[in-house]
Symmetry: C2
Subunit: 287 residues, 2 copies
């Protein structure tokens, strides 16, 4: 199982159990920092791969933007990661996956994995009542991508947009009374009126794993929290196993590309990745 | 004096007192919606001008981004507004003004007015103690633009970043207990330790006028709230009076340009402008 760091310090990374030998270069894309929680999970289950992480920090957040804009940004990022040598892409951004996975797949010539499908699979596995509450950004919720993915697994979903949770995490209020109050307002509503039997809370945004203890406190004790970082990493490992064209690598190399300040990414990013970040390149994407 | 609408409904716009006859086309630039509070003030004091409003909604918010990125975005916007026929530019975004006013002036060939200088002038006029608290985004506060502008007027300033206030306004929680609690946390700190004698709160972000009642409740009763929308509009009127190359116009025309969804801009924007919004064009800025 994955280990999560409980504070802002760095956690040690278990290597070994479940690790595989094949090692394609994996491109990981997010609008900014949240995707680092997925990269962290990937590093644990596929430790020998090389990783290229792209954070579109000059244009974040995506969660309040339109389908057209998010699709354009995400396709640019996918093409960029391929040009840099990515042999497989993980869209570690719920909004980009929910709004634009088909367009990204069309823009890319390598395999593309999003976070919605693995997250929905995990929620399905964890639910006994067949009812799941999904929280995410405005854009993710409006797309109903999770509702559709869960419906195909015979799970009834209630989706709830929680736009204040990302800014609260980015303010560093990860265990603050205000964050608990805001989460409580959002979730009390979500778990009422016919959804009191829901037994899974699916975290449909990569920022939310950082406030798991707060979320744990405001939902009924019978509810299981599922985040897509771990399930996406496991799905990626399956894909890697089935990929024949992959090089072999002794140890992983990490490279980061960001569209805004590299310094800020370094500072904030290590809270998400739980390890120091270096090798960051600022890029412009031809704007 | 300007009228503010007290609810999300539309307020009537007083025309007459203080209105002038010259009417250049004024380009108003903001990262998104907040600049509409400045446009609202401009419409009241220069009602006969034509206005071109540019909201960079696909790349908002600017408040968490670097100097280089904000300067690049703002200069692109300034050039675009000039191409559309703006004869004068009002940078209705505190972050863009604070970080990039010199670069914008260099990129533009028409007169450029920012919000920092007029805001500082108003704070100076309102303060008896010579101490002012300024609130704004992370980027605005880090630039110390307000501190410098106030120091030149012999005013001592304490700047406090309040990154959660913009998301709270955009969530529509303009009179919500959580917003009051967050504002209280930020401002109790700002008005303590040597700044208990501060008698002005300068709102260094165009979103903040929407939560004036909340801010009023969490600061000492002796404190005057100053926002730069009104003072910027009055400064613009002075500039217009001194501009010789201006056309004459019977009634104002409003055109809006946005980089993300026009529909969303229409919906959210009218809360800031306090009137219905039409004539919106989506543009791409060559990305």
């Amino acid at each position: 199982m994955l280990r999560h760091c409980t504070t802002n310090g760095y956690c040690d990374r278990p290597i070994g159990t479940g690790a595989i030998n094949v090692a394609p270069t994996i491109g990981v894309f997010d609008s900014g920092f949240g995707g680092l929680t997925v990269l962290k999970a990937l590093l644990e289950v596929i430790p020998q791969s090389n990783y290229l992480y792209f954070g579109d920090t000059a244009r974040l957040p995506y969660g309040s933007k339109s389908v057209q804009t998010v699709a354009r940004y995400a396709c640019e990022a996918a093409r960029f990661l391929e040009q840099q040598g990515a042999e497989m892409l993980v869209i570690a951004c719920n909004t980009a996956t929910a709004l634009a996975l088909p367009q990204i797949k069309e823009a890319a010539s390598v395999r593309v994995l999003g976070v919605v499908e693995p997250g929905a699979q995990s929620a399905h596995a964890a639910s006994k009542s067949g009812r799941v509450v999904v929280i995410g950004t405005d854009a993710t919720v409006s797309s109903h991508a999770y509702q559709k993915a869960l419906a195909s697994l015979k799970i009834e979903a209630r989706e709830k947009a929680c736009p204040l949770l990302v800014p609260l995490v980015e303010e560093g209020w990860v265990d603050h009374p205000v964050t608990e109050q805001v989460a409580s307002i959002y979730l009390q509503e979500a778990f009422s009126d016919g959804f009191s039997s829901a037994d899974v809370l699916l975290l449909g945004c990569t920022h939310y794993p950082l406030i798991k203890p707060v979320l744990r406190r405001v939902v009924p004790t019978t509810v299981t929290l599922v985040d897509s970082a771990e399930s996406t990493a496991l799905a990626a490992r399956e894909l890697v196993r089935s990929t024949s064209e992959s090089n072999s690598q002794e140890r992983s190399e990490l490279r980061f590309f960001v569209t805004d300040s590299a310094e800020k990414f370094k500072r904030l990013g290590q809270q998400f990745l739980c390890r120091p970040i270096s090798n960051i390149t600022h890029i412009d994407l031809k704007e």
